[in-house]
Symmetry: C2
Subunit: 383 residues, 2 copies
Amino acid sequence: MDIKERSLALHKKLKGKLSIESKIDIKNKDDLSLVYTPGVAASSLAIKENKEMSYELTGKGNTVAVISDGSAVLGLGDIGPLAAMPVMEGKCALFKQFAGINAVPIVLDTKDTEEIIQTIKFLAPSFGGINLEDISAPRCFEIENRLKDMLDIPVFHDDQNGTAIVVGAALLNALRLIKKEIDHIRVVINGSGSAGIAISRFLIELGVKDIVMCDKDGILDPEDNKLNSVQVEMAKITNPKRLKGVLKDAVCCSDVFIGVSAGNVLKKEWVGLMNKDSVVFALANPTPEIDREEALAGGARVYGAGISNTPNQINNALVFPGIFKGALEARVKNIDVDMMKTACYALAELVSDEELHEDYIIPSVIHEGVSKEISEAIKKNRF
Amino acid sequence: MDIKERSLALHKKLKGKLSIESKIDIKNKDDLSLVYTPGVAASSLAIKENKEMSYELTGKGNTVAVISDGSAVLGLGDIGPLAAMPVMEGKCALFKQFAGINAVPIVLDTKDTEEIIQTIKFLAPSFGGINLEDISAPRCFEIENRLKDMLDIPVFHDDQNGTAIVVGAALLNALRLIKKEIDHIRVVINGSGSAGIAISRFLIELGVKDIVMCDKDGILDPEDNKLNSVQVEMAKITNPKRLKGVLKDAVCCSDVFIGVSAGNVLKKEWVGLMNKDSVVFALANPTPEIDREEALAGGARVYGAGISNTPNQINNALVFPGIFKGALEARVKNIDVDMMKTACYALAELVSDEELHEDYIIPSVIHEGVSKEISEAIKKNRF
């Protein structure tokens, strides 16, 4: 059986990948009195007196909601809340496995920006953090920004920020390997949805000076009235040489290609037009923008992808467990860009100079201790 | 240490009573590919094709949300969402322990009826059922009714309906013991909040003809403009003899007293005014309307309370795990009054004629198999 058939069979067998367990075995009336009424009243009253005690007496401080409207799921697009649930459950399983965090999958029966914001605002007291997931652009920007302002717990849209951090770490290590300076490279980002825009913004923070963003019509043009306001803004602040044209024109003479777009859109010949020691990150799922073999044959020196069956898997699972673990343990109210950079550098540094290699610029997703390193770095920078 | 100190210490140690576990140990990339991308896409697509598959491929069908706005918590009143969390976590622990159901505690940062309804409507696809908890009257009636109409999963306000079912079962067994007919008794219900009203409505369904409802001002008077609309309606459909007066007047010549009000409001002498073989259920928490010793000294033959340190503990935990287990397993869309009656009779029948005794009219909360009996009865009646 192929991976999809095996996965489907596993899902049928499990009927849900999560189990919510009581930490206490309630065997007798005394146990019940401790866990529930009348004993529980003492904890409720202590929190009523001092809200901060909710972090001491309930699971809030180690519980994250993974929330999606199912509008931009993996490579599947707008499949709706029920169909998004297997992905959200999977994400929650990773939260526990990689960071020991309790995560609750919540899918929403609305795609209205205001309704999503209101719903999350109202359910927020139950959680120590909110992981927004697979919400389509441009709504995801407003939803994340407004909730960040509104809530006193961290809010993180993983498709944007998690992707940006892991791409950033992979890029830092690729540059370390090929010995190019970050402020001297040209980076082409193909795809101007939530991930592409977040990667672009974050690479600017990391010091990249020359980014050229493309969508399916080619290099973003701020005059193009098909662009949304965020894309227009990005078109203005990137592309310092004011290049025009299609993807091929952008790729020509660039150092790095980052694809967050669709399968098979980058031709082998175009890779040959890139500068020497070129880097190709083909992150489209399940079919990358270009296969590893094609990219290397075309002349790329470093290749990374989102899918799991190649070296250099650039996967958010390297980041979100650790960044939430750090944010929860340090009790930060906002995952800001400094914290994202801290996480990015910590992730990159997990690959030593001795280990660094064309096929090892980023740790494996199941590398032990990734989330611990990232969370420790965040806590160190905070205290 | 007393129970509250011990419970507080336990809560401090645990930092949350629930743990969300992955059913699969994700040890390598293959596990990751099965649980998450790319394998998970097969389950998402299967659900996109046929929404019913969400019950086969995700945890929806065995997951309940326990949702409160923290406005009417136990004996504590309106303590707000954060302070309600220990109670909701406790309830979720009981769901798992007694019925194997995954339950997620969600507290809401709003007391607005419309906002609560909207929030629950939007997050509903994540769950197989909604257990409303500790929401104050009269909002709880509208919230429950509107959500029942709106959603295709069962919605159950446990403080109303769970309480009504367990009181009903205790009453049926008390009548079996004292050999009175249900349509010949007079029942006084003291307290006209959500529980009192729900009990009253359910006892009418069970066949009680003469119910007298009271609040702190005495027997409910339909002309009293301090009553809300639901209380006015209840005042009209109960009290066939049109009794007037204070609680003492109601209690006089009644057969059953059911208190869902406040501590120490029923005097020993008034119990003496009740008919022979009187039944007193004093459910106020943490201090009952009358102590067991006082009630028995006053002449009551059967005494039950909500607190755990007396015989005949009348506790919702006898009902909600089993009724949700039955509703989820039978995939019912609504927990209707017939299902409530089924659960009530099944619970009552767990006490055999041989076991039936003044101090054993209802099984212990930790009696093995209560939820199984109730859920089996529901499933039998449905198929």
